[in-house]
């Protein structure tokens, strides 16, 4: 991604990248004429996007290799051995193939019908539409008057747009687990759950192409130590930034605990560990300034 690409901002505060040569970059703008397809591999997600007349067809495949670090984009995708027919696209048995193969049957197909004839497809990384509850493998005890920075990974969603900004849909890279965040099973909200090692030092192993990292600084301003069993990250307020190597980041988040209240402050630039990162997508919700919340809604 060159400097000009980084500067090309358009609607939704999105930077368009047409350079997919970098190893981990899978987003950008692609041209897929009618009758052709593009194949994208983003960690555990493999999708084939086929442009048909008045239709975008998205086939979600289930790769067997289990490799979560593979990133590839093939546009146009290599042609299939057999010509595509309506039966083969809908996975109906035919005379030549009475039983579709097992992999094909596991493919999930989503069809987006459109009046537009644009061949332009944009793929962007976006953050989940709900709060992400991150639970460290082992609880962390944060001593009084101590500040610690945790690196927390959130699952990424793939946003498909036709033309410049007409949305087709969002796909989670890996189906997320849901969790209930609330004082009891009657009141609360649904969130997405994820696990982290609670890394205090950033290393390459913690970065993956399908996760968006957030540097969460937790400051215990109270006089008592507190045990941090989980962190609830309001990702709807966060943007996605891409660093030089295609790693995804959000703004740094600071959570201050003082008594029964916790204050959360979202930064307005990429984290210091990714100084040259460029904003790729903006937040779903826009709120200014710090936000006070009950302690239990951010940590436990």
């Amino acid at each position: 991604m060159d400097a000009l690409d980084r500067q090309r901002f358009c609607r939704y505060g999105v930077a368009v990248s047409s350079d997919t040569s970098a190893r981990s970059v899978w987003w950008g703008s692609f041209t897929i004429p009618v009758g052709q397809a593009g194949r994208f591999r983003i960690g555990p997600l493999a999708i084939k996007v086929i442009r048909l007349a008045n239709e975008w067809q998205v086939r979600r495949e289930h790769p067997e290799d289990g490799n979560e670090r593979i990133v590839s984009t093939e546009v146009p995708a290599p042609p299939s051995r057999a010509p595509a027919t309506l039966d083969s696209m809908l996975l109906r048995p035919t005379k030549d193939a009475p039983e579709p193969n097992r992999d094909a049957r596991e493919t999930t197909i989503t069809r987006y019908v459109t009046a537009s004839d644009t061949p332009k497809l944009r793929i962007l990384p976006v953050l989940p539409d709900r709060t992400v509850v991150t639970r460290p493998e082992n609880p962390l005890t944060i001593l009084p008057e101590t500040r610690v920075t945790l690196y927390v990974g959130s699952p990424v969603w793939v946003r498909l747009l036709q033309g410049e900004d007409e949305m087709l849909g969002d796909l989670p890279v890996s189906p997320p687990k849901e969790a209930w965040l609330g004082p009891n099973t009657r009141e609360g909200e649904l969130c997405y759950a994820t696990r982290t090692y609670g890394r205090l030092v950033l290393d390459e192993a913690s970065l993956a192409p399908h996760r968006v990292m957030t540097a969460v600084s937790i400051e215990n301003k109270s006089e008592q130590p507190f045990v941090c069993e989980r962190v609830n990250l309001p990702v709807r307020r966060l943007s996605v930034y891409a660093s030089e190597g295609g790693r995804l980041w959000t703004e740094p988040v600071t959570m201050e605990r003082s008594g029964e209240l916790a204050r959360i402050v979202v930064g307005d630039s990429p984290p210091p560990v990714a100084p040259g990162a460029v904003r790729v997508t903006g937040p779903r919700d826009i709120e200014d300034g710090g936000m006070f919340r009950a302690f239990g809604t951010l940590f436990r």
């Binding site: 509850v133 687990k177 099973t185």
Partner: protein, 261 residues
Amino acid sequence: MNQQQVMRAVDFFTTDRLVDGVRAIALFFITALFASLLGRWVRRLVALRGDMQRALLVSRLVTWSFLALGLAGALEEMGFKLNAVLGAAGVLTVAVGFAAQTTLSNLISGFFLFGERPFRVGDLIEVDTLLGEVLSVDMMATTLRTPDNRFVRIPNELVLKTKVTNHTRFPLRRLDLTVALGHHEDFGAVRALLLDVADKNTLCLAEPAPTVFIASMGESSAQVQLWLWTRTDQLQALRASITAEIQAALAASKRATAAAS
């Protein structure tokens, strides 16, 4: 028509009675218009809180109350003595009340159901032993659609008297499953297997966390209880998927044990 009759008619239309009649009609229609407008406004106001059924009931009550007031005012204007009318109405009400005890009981029960709101349209409820989705809560009866697509009308009096279980009141439901464990089997291994299956199933919530424990000890086996939480609308999907996954995991575990030994 002879002259005398004509004179009598002219007298009638020029006396105060005609003026009173016109005033009574005007009063009634103005009140009716006001009642209708007020009813619509109240319905919109209550519907803003997302409860259409209550909005309809409240707006009807408001409209009919104002119409009754308008009618009473109009009758007063026309010279009727309302005390006598209300007295007669009281006697009539007692007579009708005796004759229609069941109807009135259902009607009053309907009011209590509207006030108490133990369920709403669309909820899955169990009235005594009858399970069904609530189609409507009317003044006289509650109607349900059973899972095998039958229509059931239950008088409101019966609903109020009977135990009612609302299966969809809260956003989450717990699914309880029991697995038999032989005394020679390792509870720790089965527990780990069940929790792993629950972790891989995306319909099962991560929090509240799944729970596995021995519920009872029999002579030849123990009953292992698995508690899983899910969204209320996904309970059946979780039940269908997780039982098959547990069965497959247990079978695979037994095959692996047999191959190792």
